[in-house]
Symmetry: C2
Subunit: 215 residues, 2 copies
Amino acid sequence: MPNAGVITTVEDWWAPRVSNYPCPSHHTRKRVIRMRADAQKNRQRLIDSTIELILEVGGEPSRDAIAERAGVGIGTLYRHFPDQQSLLHAVARCALERSISAGESIVENARDGAEALRQYMHAALDSGIGVVNIVHPFLDKPDWPDLLSRAGTLMNSIVGRALEDGRLRSDLTERDIVFAMIRFSRPLAVGLPLEEERAVAHRHLDFYIDGLCIP
Amino acid sequence: MPNAGVITTVEDWWAPRVSNYPCPSHHTRKRVIRMRADAQKNRQRLIDSTIELILEVGGEPSRDAIAERAGVGIGTLYRHFPDQQSLLHAVARCALERSISAGESIVENARDGAEALRQYMHAALDSGIGVVNIVHPFLDKPDWPDLLSRAGTLMNSIVGRALEDGRLRSDLTERDIVFAMIRFSRPLAVGLPLEEERAVAHRHLDFYIDGLCIP
DNA sequence: AGTAAGCGGAGGAATATCCTCCGTTTGAAA
DNA sequence: TTTCAAACGGAGGATATTCCTCCGCTTACT
């Protein structure tokens, strides 16, 4: 979360306020404004809690559950995210942002393609990439030209490079990577403690990636 | 479903009836009795629909949804399964039974351990083994000594034999197999048509199993 | 043809979820 | 320190969902 807490557009700044409170005209051009510290913290907590719950339960959690997990009142949730869409958008962006950023720095540093692929998949798993998929059907017009193009080039470069190296089975597609990350993000619904669940996911993801390599 | 339709115990025979209808005393010893044909068919349909829905949605479906999918009235569901427990038990047993039977015949015929393991995992996936895990937390006292012991010996013989053959990585455990079958049973929540979803699951299961083999 | 087993599904009860409203608390500018 | 708008909490009514009984009708079997 680069630049956390500093809100740089009127839109972002205004979002948390109640919707019937008119945005005064002197805010129509960009300004750097800081939310109140507690508001910042609560906003991020709400996003993080939502991500956690989605990944734990494997579906959309109730608003009440989100607020409780975040340790804030239900009113606070509705102040920051007046409707479902705004919350889902924030949540998806956050997870996407995290995994893309992680991926970009991995691409720079990894020594070969297969290694980059492996590191990226584990990093994306930890970044909560799984929520994007779960949230997606409920998201209208997720137009994030910036993120989506970054994600596209990232996937291209990672998978492409790994295939070029010749270490991966040649029938592999990007779908196999994307779907796998989704699959390994999903809870087992087996009542494992969270830490163990994550450990198993990473272990099995490793097996899976081994299986992607040429025998 | 061996012996489908022939009910051999008073318990099973009596189950579908409304609960406040007293079981007459002349039924207290075992008899071979046949349910009415339509009742048989509906009962099995209800079980199958429940399995399908659980696997599609990844959680417990509502009673209404089950009845609708089965093409019967809600009253019929409650006649056959007066409470949640009886339905869940029947569903879990059915899926477990199917995969164990499939596994047993695979063990007999497969030529080597790794091959048996692979065939079994695919068969269990198709048998709906995934529901057992999802249903399990809601099941009190699932005491099926028969099934559980059969399942135990089956797993032992499959994994044991595969390990003996030396084709699998030596740190592999039964947990890795069981959890994998659960994982590949879960829906991707990506809105794929059902057939495609199943195809992807099998494809990725194959990758995973490749990853279990020694490089 | 007779009859009890079995069926359907309307609809009230119980539950879960949503989301507004308003009195209270608090961060931060002066 | 004071001041006050921003931010907070959470009770509680509105809505949506799910549960499950009840009873008149249908049908498989003898």
